[in-house]
Symmetry: none
Subunit: 222 residues, 4 copies
């Protein structure tokens, strides 16, 4: 390991996770060792890329009974796909999307929003002028949620705050679907029928999924 | 739902996922309904933020027997934390970090790298001049992996390619730990003993974890 | 500290525990300090209330790899839930249950019985007339185990003593589940789908768990 | 399994606990199987009885690096020992105490209070007239906390509410030590030098222990 100029701050694995990790190794890993080795040797070949929120209550692999190797999963605040902007700066979501579509050649990109999203609520407060701390240049959360402003404008007329929040949660998915379409490699893959796009809302408390049907212009329970 | 100017491309949920989702609802959801409702009503209060790779073979929740509500999970290509750059542009990883530390006040931020990482291999190829397509302004993957160039420089002298790749995988975690320390709110929380940082490497085929011990300057098997 | 009329008998911490406590502080506490402070500042929010026996061989937190903050744990002899009796007298188990369900709003109440239970064996001896010392008014153990008499009556016909004991151990869980249902606040929470009840038997020597399935009327290995 | 007249409400083990239990069996249990079987065959022989709070943040076995078989552990709200009252009614704490001292013949009874105790705070509110809902006959929590009223009276003169709460937390231990002394079998065992009594306060956030020294009339850091 080379010399370091920079001070590194790192602690060992939190002790309470050690028995859980050891338990996983002695059961799930031991029972699936052949598959894990095969995945390590042959590389991943996932069928799906999912873009979901970081929220600890959204378990994409769980909801789809997915297993190791099934889903290439990008998670950011409020499941946002930013606009296509090839300006030479780093864009983590766009990089993940490019890798999934061009290298892994996934068959589906699924954007999964969810109810009770703290990020979406922050966006609502910011856009309605109630969260000036999110409007500063230094607020990473605020600048990230700026991407959703076009969505807010579409629901700004809803007077009931909770109803507006529910609508804005759905709009995060729609804005992301709109932005997806601006990526040339996405459009090309969809037009070549190598890729399909999907938009979902997951209701945490009810455990239900809705998918967006563009021909109806709304979300419909699966 | 308001009018749309932009064409939206979205298909219903892929049919093969429907029975899996319905199965999840009839079993895991039904058996945990009370917990999910409580999480929806009361909000999340995760103890950990984890930053892991999008790779479909890395199942953070599985390895720690974690459940819905336990881990605030950001996943991007190569588990990168970018440098601190409050320039008013959107930075998804920095936004997730800010939300976790300042709003959720998690107790731990854990960076989890892994072996056989396609992103890290791309970085290796790019930095050694073997992947000119990643060096263009338009390559989102290339521009994202630029963040890891300081890590590459430290392992550039390793002549064996596989050995260099293994070293670079570890460096992704170290670079991210270094960058974490540049975020004022991270540093402040660590110094106030409200937050600890952790760096791990997960070996996909062997199912093992190593943690980074800065006092030894190396990764050690947990 | 105010004056005392009553003589207090108390010794310092037994010396052999001092190095163990100091070791815990220098390791587990030091590594989890951030989490413990957060728990102290924000209060507990456990997902589970467990009702287990005081027996030193039953380690509920261990079996579930649970950590500080996870389980609100009441332990009494033979994991008994007494009948609902709001007579104005102190009832420790009922108080713990009320606090867990009404104040903490836990999602699960789990009754955990175990094999080789000395309390249950005492109940068996008392109910079969072999332990007159437990039948006196002054016997706290006897009067406590009276609560399990309805369970004994159901197994009284089993002639093999060991087999009867095993059956009575299971009945302690069933009687407690029956009594739980008599508490209006438990019933209300279950009916509102805010709470679920669970009955387990832990086999100390075999290290196995069985759960009670009411639709089958029996315990089944997990 | 005999017929049931009463409806039983019970669900299977919550699914998220299943992998943790399986992990425990494959590691901790597998590595200690010989000891667990010995404990099952020979019965328990703990050296200590501990009386602690149900609070999920108080892990007595952890603090003393205790293992399966070491501590006979009774946990109730606010670590209360009620007055000696052999009236023929069930008293769970007194039963546990009697079993520990007379049957198991433990060498130590340790009462462990803790900071930030919700039960003690409830007692404070009730005794100062701020929690009328705890004063009803139907409140199990209130009637249980009545036992601590003599402790409240001693701290009633402290005007600062937080300071009063800290003092009352300590008084819960002192009241329990006083009540312990009223149990004839406890007094007899102490006088025969077969048993010693101990009072501790555990500070959750600071991870420290204090023990009560009657000759100084106060708690002193261990």
């Amino acid at each position: 390991m080379p010399d370091r100029d920079t001070k590194i701050h790192a602690m060992p694995l939190p002790p309470y996770l050690v028995p859980r990790y050891r338990g996983w190794r002695a059961t799930t890993y031991a029972e699936n060792k052949i598959w894990y080795r095969k995945l390590a040797d042959e590389g991943q070949n996932p069928r799906i890329m999912a873009i979901a929120c970081c929220d600890s209550r959204v378990n994409v692999n769980g909801v789809f009974s997915a297993e190791t190797g099934d889903i290439f999963l990008h998670r950011n605040i409020a499941n946002v796909v930013p606009p296509y902007l090839p300006d030479g700066d780093p864009h983590g979501t766009s990089a993940a999307l490019e890798y999934a579509v061009k290298v892994l050649r996934v068959a589906h990109v699924i954007v999964i929003g969810h109810t009770e999203c703290g990020g979406v609520q922050g966006c609502q407060h910011m856009c309605s002028g109630k969260a000036p701390e999110l409007e500063t240049k230094e607020s990473f959360v605020g600048r990230w949620l700026d991407i959703l402003r076009p969505g807010y404008e579409r629901v700004a007329g809803i007077s009931d705050e909770t109803e507006q929040l529910r609508a804005l949660e759905r709009e995060t998915v729609v804005v992301s679907l709109e932005n997806l379409w601006e990526f040339p490699f996405v459009r090309e893959a969809v037009e070549a029928e190598r890729l399909s796009l999907h938009g979902l809302i997951f209701d945490i408390g009810a455990g239900t999924l809705q998918h967006y049907l563009p021909e109806e212009g709304r979300f419909v329970t699966v």
